[in-house]
C-alpha cells in the first residue's frame, strides 16, 4: 500500500487529508459517523479569545454548486475549547490543527501561546481572511488582513514570535495576486499556507428585494469555487517554498488529487462534509486507490506533479 504520510512544515500527518475549519465543528459530532482519528488532522472551527454568538440568521444560503455563509464565527471561545472540546480530540488521538481568529495581532499571539502551553493543538492555522465579521456596508473601508501583504507580514511575525508550533496562515482569494500575501506570510515566518478561504459573494431574494443573508454579504464555498482555488494554489505553489494545505470545493479523491498536482502538500475537505459527513474519509480511501492504480508509492510524489507540457 502506498505511503500516505506527509510532514508539512513540521506537522506530521498520517495522510494528507484534513477538514476545513468551520465545517467540522470540534470533531465530536462527526465521530458518530466514522473514527475521526483516521484523518490526517482535525482542523477545528475558528477560536476566538471570547466566545462569540455569531451573526443573526439567516447565515447561509445555497447558490449554484455553492454555499454562501456568514456564520460570523460563532464559537465557544478558547477557554471552553480547552476545557470541553480538546479532551475528546486528545483521547481519540487526533492530530489537531487549531484555527484562530483575532481582532488585533496580540489576540492571535495570546491564542497561540495558550494553545501551545496547554497542548491544545499540534499546529495552528491563522484565519486572516474571515469575510463575515465585518459590517458589509462599509466594506470598501474595511479590508481583510489577508488582502494587505504588509499586514499579513506584521501579523505573521507577531504570532510567530508567540509560538513554536507549526504555523499555517490562511489567506483569502479576494485578491488580484495571491502570490503577494503568500510571500508575506513566508517572510513573516509561517511554516505553511492554507488556501483558500471563501470568495466574497452575495445572494438576493427578489421577492422581498433583500439580501438573503442578514449580514448582507457572505463567503462562497463549495464546488463552484474549485477552479478558482486550484488556480490560486498553483500560483502560490510556484512562488513559495513552504507547504500549502489546499481547499475549496473538494468533494472526492479526484478533486483532492487535482490540488496535490497543482502543488498542495495536503488538502482539506470543507462544505462537502455537510452533505456526506464521511467525505474526508472517502477522500483518503480514494487517494490510496489512485496511487495504487497509477503506480505511485508515496503520496508526496503527486505534489506539484502537474504536467504543463
Amino acid at each position: 500500500m502506498a505511503d500516505l504520510r506527509v510532514n508539512i512544515g513540521g506537522l506530521f500527518m498520517k495522510n494528507p487529508v484534513t477538514v476545513a475549519s468551520g465545517t467540522f465543528g470540534y470533531g465530536q459530532e462527526y465521530d458518530e459517523y466514522f473514527d475521526i482519528a483516521q484523518l490526517g488532522a482535525v482542523t477545528v472551527k475558528s477560536l476566538t479569545l471570547q466566545p462569540r454568538a455569531g451573526n443573526r440568521p439567516p447565515r447561509l444560503a445555497e447558490t449554484p454548486a455553492g454555499l454562501l455563509n456568514a456564520i460570523g464565527l460563532q464559537n465557544v471561545g478558547i477557554e471552553a475549547y480547552l476545557r470541553a472540546k480538546l479532551p475528546f480530540l486528545r483521547k481519540k488521538g487526533c492530530t489537531i490543527i487549531a484555527n484562530i481568529y483575532g481582532y488585533v495581532p496580540d489576540d492571535y499571539a495570546e491564542l497561540a501561546r495558550r494553545l501551545e502551553s496547554e497542548q491544545g493543538a499540534d499546529a495552528i492555522e491563522v484565519n486572516l481572511s474571515c469575510p463575515n465579521v465585518h459590517d458589509a456596508r462599509s466594506v470598501g473601508g474595511c479590508k481583510l488582513v489577508a488582502q494587505q501583504p504588509e499586514a499579513v507580514l506584521k501579523y505573521t511575525r507577531v504570532i510567530r514570535s508567540a509560538t513554536r508550533l507549526p504555523l499555517f496562515i490562511k489567506l483569502s482569494p479576494n485578491v488580484a495576486d495571491i502570490v503577494e500575501p503568500c510571500l508575506a506570510a513566508q517572510e513573516g515566518g509561517a511554516d505553511g499556507l492554507s488556501l483558500i478561504n471563501t470568495l466574497l459573494g452575495m445572494e438576493i431574494d427578489v421577492k422581498t428585494r433583500k439580501p438573503v443573508l442578514s449580514n448582507l454579504v457572505g463567503g462562497l464555498s463549495g464546488p463552484a469555487i474549485r477552479p478558482v482555488a486550484l488556480k490560486m494554489v498553483w500560483d502560490a505553489a510556484r512562488a513559495v517554498k513552504i507547504p500549502i494545505i489546499g481547499m475549496g470545493g473538494i468533494c472526492n479523491a479526484r478533486d483532492a488529487v487535482a490540488f496535490l498536482l497543482v502543488g498542495a502538500s495536503a488538502v482539506a475537505v470543507g462544505s462537502a462534509s455537510f452533505r456526506r459527513p464521511d467525505t474526508a474519509l472517502q477522500v483518503i480511501k480514494g487517494l490510496e486507490d489512485y496511487l495504487e492504480e497509477h503506480g505511485f508509492s508515496r503520496v508526496t510524489e503527486l505534489v506539484g506533479a502537474l504536467k504543463t507540457e
Partner: protein, 264 residues
Amino acid sequence: MPFVRDCEVLAHQEVAADHYRITLAAPEIAKQARPGMFCMIEVGTGFYPFLRRPFSVERIHADGISFLYKVEGEGTRLLSRFRAGDTVNIQGPLGRPFPVEAGMRRYFLVAGGIGVAPFPALAEAIIAVGGTPEVLLAARTEHLLIGARDFSRMGCRVVLATDDGSCGMKGTAVDLLKQDLGTGEGSVVYACGPMAMLRAAHETCLAAGVVCWASLEAHMACGDGVCMRCVVPANRETEAERMARVCREGPVFDSRDINWTACP
C-alpha cells in the same frame, strides 16, 4: 448513533395537492428513531441543491420509516420525483425527540399545516404509554387537513380548524388549544408548525403554566451541529450558548428555552 444509508423507496404517494408521503426501507434508522427526530434526505445527486433537506419522521415501522412533506422549493420538487424502487440516501435519525411521559391527564398535539408531520409517530408513542392524544389539527383549507382520519382510527381525539372555515372551526390550531386547555392541569402540549403558531402556542401554555414542547423549523446545512446555520436565540446565560442549534439542541425545545422576543 445516526447513519448515512442508501434506502429503497417502498412507496411514494401524493396525499394532497403538493403533499407527499414517502416510505423508505431503513431498518437501522427505524430502530433508533423516536417521535420528533428527523432525517436529512439527499434530494438530488447534482450540485444544486448541494445540501440535504431535513424532514421529521412521520411513522416508524419495524424495517422502515415514512416522511410526510410538502413541495416548497427545488429540493422538495426533486424529492417528489423519486419512484418506488429508486434509491434515496438519508442520514439520521437526528435531533432530540419529543419527551413522552406516562401518566399525564391530557396530551395535546397542536399542528399547523405540514407541522402535522411528526405527530403520527408521537401519537403512537403516547398511546403506547396509555395516554389518549388529542390532535388539534389546523390548515389553510379542508383538503390540507392531512391525516385526520388516521388519527381518529388510532383512537385519538381529533379537533379540526381551517383558516377559511371550510372544515371545523374557522381559526388556527392555537385557537383550538385555547378552547380546550382549560386550567391546563396535568396537561402537556406538543406543537409543530410555523414560527408564529409556535410562539402563540408558547404564550398560551406559559399563561396556563403548561409545558409546551415545540418542534422548530430552521434551514439546515449539516443537520449535525457543526455548521451553525440553524440557530435560534435561546434563553441561555453565556454568549457561546446564546444561539442554540435546532438540529442538535432541538428540533424539539421546551418552549421556555427559546428567546421568542429575539426571534425574527
